[in-house]
């Protein structure tokens, strides 16, 4: 028998196809690297201007401006505490709305709603997520503030609470949708186990489904906090801190947040008015915001990894 000799080349790659593959790989890699490089450059410019700001304070010996009565960058008052407190208040108010409503919505959609109801409600919820935040900002100022906040409390029309409630409404779909995904990914076998032991629906939900979905729920929560911290428009419109704000820990006072403070200085022109450091102060706040949201995302990521694959 004369068998044809099989060579390595016969089993080797098709030359042309091989080359195409390599080209595709290169293109993909460039795209990936580019996005990293761009992010890096943004970070560099952010940190550069932040450094200039800090150096400016040091050069002029005006450290005290960081502990001023409020945030008035055009007048050289950079009370970061004002912004941090504003952001904290808005986020807390927003979460006190978004977490209960979003979570309850998710529980209903995932555990209680009939498929026919779900088919209608889920897209409706996602539509809510599509409302531009400018619209919600105006809604917060023109409706939430007079009809909700001012009805029950003594407050000016523009106040942190109204802005917080607006941001909360904005965040509900995010909380609901991420939590619902987390709960639906809990295997049906666990629900069956619970029902098989004579547990009712509510018990099954609270004691089996929610704990099993914990990592997803925490992720939803942290994402929501991130979103609320980063929300700009609603606060800029409804919180009343467009020119700056005095320090306050009272949600019923006007105030401003990190993001709203930035937009009110930077809006519309390429020149930020004010004295020398006003422009750089924006980057300083930006760096602060970046650090906070990034640590939140890291914590969220760790949480998700720690609790993943438990079932």
């Amino acid at each position: 028998m004369t068998a044809t000799q099989l060579t390595v080349a016969d089993l080797g790659p098709d030359r042309r196809r091989h080359r195409t593959q390599r080209r595709v790989r290169t293109v993909m890699m460039v795209a990936a690297v580019l996005s990293v490089v761009i992010s890096g450059l943004i970070l560099v410019s952010l940190l550069g201007e932040t450094f200039t700001f800090i150096k400016g304070l040091a050069d002029t010996g005006t450290w005290s401006s960081l502990w001023a009565d409020g945030w008035f960058p055009r007048r050289g008052q950079y009370s970061v505490a004002t912004l941090l407190m504003g952001s904290l208040i808005v986020t807390l108010v927003a979460m006190s709305v978004a977490i209960p409503l979003g979570l309850a919505g998710a529980i209903y959609l995932s555990e209680y709603a009939r498929p026919s109801v779900r088919r209608v409600l889920k897209p409706a919820l996602e539509t809510l997520a599509g409302i531009p935040s400018v619209v919600l900002g105006v809604f917060a100022l023109m409706f939430i503030s007079p009809e909700v906040v001012q009805r029950f409390f003594e407050a000016p029309q523009a106040n942190l609470a109204a802005a917080g409630l607006g941001v909360g409404i904005l965040t509900i779909p995010l909380v609901a949708s991420v939590s619902e995904d987390a709960m639906r990914s809990v295997p049906a076998a666990l629900r069956e186990a619970s029902y098989g032991l004579g547990a009712r629906k509510a018990t099954t939900c609270v004691r089996v489904v929610l704990p099993a979905a914990l990592s997803g729920l925490v992720a939803a929560l942290i994402l929501a906090v991130s979103r609320a911290l980063g929300e700009t428009m609603v606060v800029a419109i409804a919180a009343g801190g467009s020119a700056g704000a005095l320090f306050t820990a009272d949600p019923l006072r006007p105030g401003t947040t990190m993001t709203a403070a930035m937009i009110s200085q930077a809006g519309g022109t390429d020149q930020v008015k004010g004295d020398a450091l006003t422009f750089q102060s924006l980057f300083f706040v930006g760096t602060l915001l970046f650090a906070i949201t990034m640590s939140l995302n890291l914590v969220a990521g760790r949480f998700v990894r720690r609790f993943r694959n438990v079932y």
Partner: protein
Amino acid sequence: MSDEVLATSAPETSVRPPAGESTELPVVFDVDDLSVYYGNFRAVRDVTMEIRQREITAFIGPSGCGKSTVLRCFNRMNDLVEIARVEGRLTYHGVDLYARGVDPVEVRRRIGMVFQKPNPFPKSIYDNIAFGPKVAGLVKGKSETDDLVEHALRRGALWDEVKDRLKDSAMGLSGGQQQRLCIARAIAVEPEVVLMDEPCSALDPVATARIEDLMMELKDDYTIVIVTHNMQQAARVSDRTAFFVTEVNDTSDVRTGVLVEFDATDKIFSNPEDERTERYVTGRFG
């Protein structure tokens, strides 16, 4: 005189059992002409059988013949499927399980279930066992719960393996251990009946043997109904066997499960009435 009476009457009661049912164990489930529908599709029809106390009843038959569907009627697990519907009568100690006013939750506390794939909660071993009793309000306080957990784990033949790591996650146990945990979890609520839906199909032969031993032990206290793909398993553990097949309607291609034969396991495996049963148990069909 009285001696004579004793002498003549005593042997009569002990040697020759009175006719009919009275020697047999009491009936737990009386199933009469049961059909199960999913929407308009009739998945199983005409199931008639009696399940007796402290016996193991096995359901065998080829895939898709409705064994599990019938089993899931016994504790109303089919209620979780929105479109499922039951016709015919299914009584539990004389009470129609599908009567108005019967709460499936109450039913499931008396009739526990073990599933095909071990499904422990992603909680500790201890919390898995304590879940049912706590939900049912059977236990108060820690020491009572501790006792019950230990009792259930001993009953589930798992205590010795896990007693030093009760607080560890149940997900760290092997498949066989997880399934024994699920059995222990089911009997922790002190049910009368334990339904087992192919409890060994995800396990290796050694783990399977342990579960079978466990079933034989549990039989003293519980009524067990088991669905199994494994005919030898049915032959080994069960007292009675129900054989199901799928009937295919030639014109509409609708597949309906049907009960072919229900009898003592010995009879089903040695001398069945129905030809289809014989072909199945001898391995010539299915």
